[in-house]
């Protein structure tokens, strides 16, 4: 399933259940059939009009990544190198 980023944000101040994941990118994707869904972005940051593809649903949430970008395993390796110190937003 593929689509285009309609809008996006990076969440720094997360709700209680998501603080360990922050910062993370959240987006609304317009799928190619015209419907819109709210999901998460895996891998490199995307912006409005970026083409994305569905990776999988996790806990009912659709996860997308830039179309044609690296596989999940490659992405995980990249993500591990990108880890930044957690900060608490007061």
């Amino acid at each position: 399933m593929k689509g285009t980023i309609y809008t996006e944000t990076i969440v720094y101040a997360a709700p209680a259940a998501f603080t360990a994941e922050a910062p993370y990118q959240l987006a609304i994707v317009t799928l190619d059939d015209g419907t819109r869904v709210t999901g998460r972005i895996e891998g490199e940051r995307v912006s409005i009009d970026t083409r994305v593809e569905l990776v999988e649903h996790r806990n009912g949430v659709p996860w997308f990544r830039r179309e044609g970008s690296s596989s999940r395993a490659e992405h995980q390796a990249a993500a591990e190198q990108r880890v930044t110190p957690q900060e608490t937003i007061a």
Binding site: V11, Y12, A16, I28, V37, T38, I89, A90
Partner: protein
């Protein structure tokens, strides 16, 4: 239907009050409104309470009679309305409907929220419950995140800039500094606003309204009993999830509520001399002044940056400091806006009094636009 008047107003200060509980805040504001309207508790025929999440924030349900009992109102119908951040706007709308229909003559409407005894990640979680928990909530969306996505799209479609959003914050903090009851009474600079700690990109902490405790109340009655008349009022709704909307750069519910309220009042957007709008985030004020018809779509940012919504501008917006600086005890906000418009219309706004004050408007938004209430008030 009978015309309705606001005959008295009352507010607590907004802020973080560790030694105050929800009920004492609601009682203080209510008693002030009763005194201000010269009404005795025995004359009150119904009590409407706006409250978003008292049960989650303070662990108490059945809040309307819980508060009314303390006010000496036990016996009358007591009803709590929940419409996210438009809870007390909705309470005010339904109270006005009942008085207009002739069901009651004297009604007390109070809004209250007690938020600061809860830690920030939990506050974010409770507020997120005003969105779609199954999709937005499960994906990790906070309210700042939803409005950040709205801001991103508005910037993309209309060229709205970070500086224009910061101009909303700078103006409202400046106004809040003049309001003795505001939560935040410190002016901020544009540089400060731009360099704030990121909350949800592109919004920083200075783009977000405050987590506050506070209450506000009004007494309403048939129009011949007061000087401030409710000329027009409408409540509307829209889908809860943002991804169900065709265009997230506008709040459809606000546009339709405004159209109805203008029609009922027999006025046009150009007749509105001052407004309290729902600036839960800076982008929300930009969109509000567009949706209310004060400016054309996409011009809210430049109009604000040019200073035209300042106290001395052609159309003062949020002279109270808005949710941004006055504070945003969620359930209190809708009625607090009515109080602040009435204060201006009566010419009692002190240092922040605007020059022209015959007709004012209040716009209250729930969630990311699924509830809206627009009220137009005139001083006779």
């Amino acid at each position: 239907m009978r015309p309705v008047a606001v005959i008295g107003i009352g507010k607590t200060a907004f802020g973080a009050f560790p030694d105050r509980d929800l009920r004492s805040l609601a009682v203080e504001a209510s008693q002030k409104a009763l005194r201000n309207s010269n009404i005795q508790p025995a004359e009150v025929e119904a009590f409407y309470l706006g409250n978003f999440a008292g049960p989650s924030f303070v662990g108490q349900s059945h809040l309307a009679p819980y508060i009314a009992g303390e006010l000496g109102l036990a016996g009358i119908p007591c009803t709590r309305l929940e419409a996210a951040c438009a809870s007390s706007g909705a309470a005010f709308f339904h109270a006005c409907s009942a008085v207009a229909a002739g069901i009651y003559d004297v009604v007390l409407v109070t809004g209250v929220e007690k938020m600061t005894s809860t830690d920030t990640p939990r506050v974010a979680e409770i507020l997120a419950m005003a969105g779609d928990c199954g999709t937005e909530g499960r994906a990790g969306a906070t309210f700042p995140a939803l409005f950040a996505m709205i801001a991103r799209r508005h910037m993309h479609q209309y060229g709205t800039t970070r500086e224009q959003l910061a101009a909303v914050a700078v103006k409202n903090h400046g106004n809040g500094a003049k309001n003795p009851d505001a939560h935040m009474r410190k002016p901020i600079s544009i540089e400060q606003a731009l360099k704030g700690k990121p909350v949800a990109d592109p919004l920083t902490v200075y783009d977000c309204s405050l987590v506050s405790d506070g209450a506000a109340a009004v007494v309403i009655a048939p129009a011949d009993r007061g000087d401030v008349q409710v000329l027009g009022i409408a409540q509307t709704s829209d889908y809860v999830p943002l991804d169900h909307k065709d265009d997230i750069t506008t709040f459809h519910a606000v546009r339709t509520a405004a159209e109805k309220a203008y029609k009922m009042a027999g006025v046009s957007p150009s007749d509105i001399q001052l407004a309290e709008v729902h600036d839960c985030f800076t982008i929300a004020e930009v969109i509000a002044i567009e949706d209310l018809g004060f400016v054309r779509k996409g011009e809210g940012g430049p109009y604000t940056q040019e200073g035209r919504t300042c106290i001395k501008g052609e159309r003062p917006v949020n002279t109270s400091g808005g949710l941004k600086a006055k504070g945003h005890p969620v359930g209190a906000t809708g009625v607090a806006q009515i109080c602040d418009v009435v204060l201006q219309l009566r010419g009692e706004a002190g240092e922040r009094q605007v020059a022209k004050h015959e007709i004012g408007l209040a716009q209250n938004l729930g969630g990311s636009g699924a509830s809206a209430v627009v009220t137009i008030l005139e001083c006779k």
